[in-house]
Symmetry: C2
Subunit: 310 residues, 2 copies
């Protein structure tokens, strides 16, 4: 990929991040919406702390670019992306809690329960998750309620018991919290990661296909792309924990290794993990081949995800 396409990619990523920030800022502003009785200031402040001012907004980017592949509206895709970001940020707030991963820092800032308190953090997470579905059900997302309903169902399936939340549960179990610790098999690690981080990334791509009314074949392509980059994202994350440094990450490096956490890197080794990353990028590019040059941005995104430094 040449420098020009890299610049184009970087520009598009920044544009989505900036639009998402503005949208979340608007969604998390003061005046109550119809059906809301009041927006308690402390709760709103904690939600803003959790959702604003941070992150690459990778999931919204994937939703927007997947939608663009079908020439569907950007405004709806940005809303779906903002909804996704609400889910992602709520999960970080709850995962950071003392009873869970007990983290003080997130993106170089105090975690929500440090900046506020535990009760407020729990409620802010709950309210962000609820807001995600509020957003998706709005007519502005898509004029066809069938599309909105499908988005809600798909997000819920990916974010709940059998997806993201279930993945966090498996992760806590793998730490030996509830029974004697044992080494996970490669299959168990893959399932854990597909749930904990993979499901939302996959959903971002599926959401684009839903918004774009993709046919079955195109939907499957986006789905497979999402699965591949979800896996790549996690391997890159595990490599960063080994190879990265705390300042760049904005969170503690080496933490997983110190905790003896089973990752693919621990099974495949660093070189093996890099090789697996290359295979996943190739797979992601391959499934998008039928879309031709239209899919260049998404193909570049796969490489970006694999090579990211934070």
């Amino acid at each position: 990929m040449d420098a020009r396409s890299h610049d184009d990619f970087a520009q598009r990523l920044t544009a989505v991040a900036s639009d998402t920030e503005a949208l979340l800022e608007q969604l998390l502003s003061d005046p109550p919406l119809p059906g809301e009785l009041a927006r308690p200031p402390r709760l709103l402040a904690a939600m803003r702390h959790a959702a604003l001012g941070g992150g690459k907004r990778l999931r919204p980017f994937l939703a927007v670019e997947s939608t663009a592949l079908f020439g569907a509206g950007r405004a709806g895709a940005l809303l779906a992306g903002a909804s996704l970001e609400c889910v992602h940020c709520y999960s970080l707030v709850h995962d950071d809690l003392p009873a869970m991963d007990n983290d003080d820092l997130r993106r170089g800032r105090p975690t929500a329960h440090k900046a506020f308190d535990e009760a407020t953090a729990i409620l802010a997470g709950d309210a962000l998750l609820t807001l995600a579905f509020d957003i998706l059900a709005r007519t502005e997302v898509h004029s066809d309620p069938q599309v909105r309903s499908a988005l809600v169902l798909d997000l819920a399936r990916g974010a709940g018991l059998g997806g993201m939340v279930g993945g966090q549960m498996l992760d806590l179990a793998a730490e030996g919290r509830f029974e004697a610790k044992r080494a996970l098999t490669q299959d168990e690690i893959l399932t854990l990661q597909a749930m904990k981080t993979g499901a939302l990334i996959r959903y971002a791509c599926r959401a684009g296909a839903l918004l774009g009314r993709a046919d079955a074949k195109a939907f499957e392509a986006l789905d497979r792309y999402g699965i591949a980059i979800g896996k790549a994202f996690q391997i890159a994350d595990d490599l960063l924990d080994v190879e990265g440094d705390t300042a760049t990450l904005g969170k503690a490096a080496g933490k997983d290794a110190a905790a003896g956490k089973a990752t693919l890197v621990s099974i495949l080794g660093i070189a093996g993990a890099h090789k697996r990353l290359d295979e996943l990028i190739a797979e992601a590019e391959d499934v998008l081949a039928p879309f031709g040059a239209k899919a260049d941005t998404l193909k570049f995104a796969a490489r970006f995800i694999a090579a990211r430094k934070s």
Copy 2:
């Protein structure tokens, strides 16, 4: 209301409770659904602990009977009711946490974080909330996706920042957690209660009107009915805290009074609160008058809610 109508009411309430229990049992059974990668047993067990085997299932009852008023399908109403119960039960799990109300008992059984652990309880609550929206988006709820989408939006609005979660936040603030404690005005108490407990009860009735495709006038009647019985429910709750006993309640009586919690009872006095209850029942019956005898069960429900002993 004569003995026969009381028996009829009791029978209908029991029937919905039993159908809701069976439905939740089925929803929280082992096999993963399409789109779910696995259902971690410990998480599923905690969700079952929180959602099964308890409660009068009042919210599902209101959803089912409100739907019946329009002759719409019972199966969809039961699913909407089960979804509501997922939200209600998740809120109890999170409210019971040490960082929130720190309760060990709920319905005479250990709370989720006591029966499991804090991390599992937080995740079980998250997964139940997510499941609520999963359920609502299913075609079995209603064949028209516009109805499903409206149900999702209405539930999210009532359950989140400007509804139930916001109400819990106001309740914690009223305890003096974040600033010096001061007496709430009657208006502040009404807003807090309308959000914390009123919003879901109101939604149960609105859900019936949505499922029944009520016209604007009928929708407003159900909405006003829901507001009135939501207020009645809370006053009855506050009276029980003063007049009830721990064994019947299945939770600690006198707790609110001991905590110096501001309730309408503390402002109106016991006699004044009973008088207000009577007014609310009259209002609930009044707004349903246009429906004639069809609405007898809902009218009776208003009296039941006001007179409940647990």
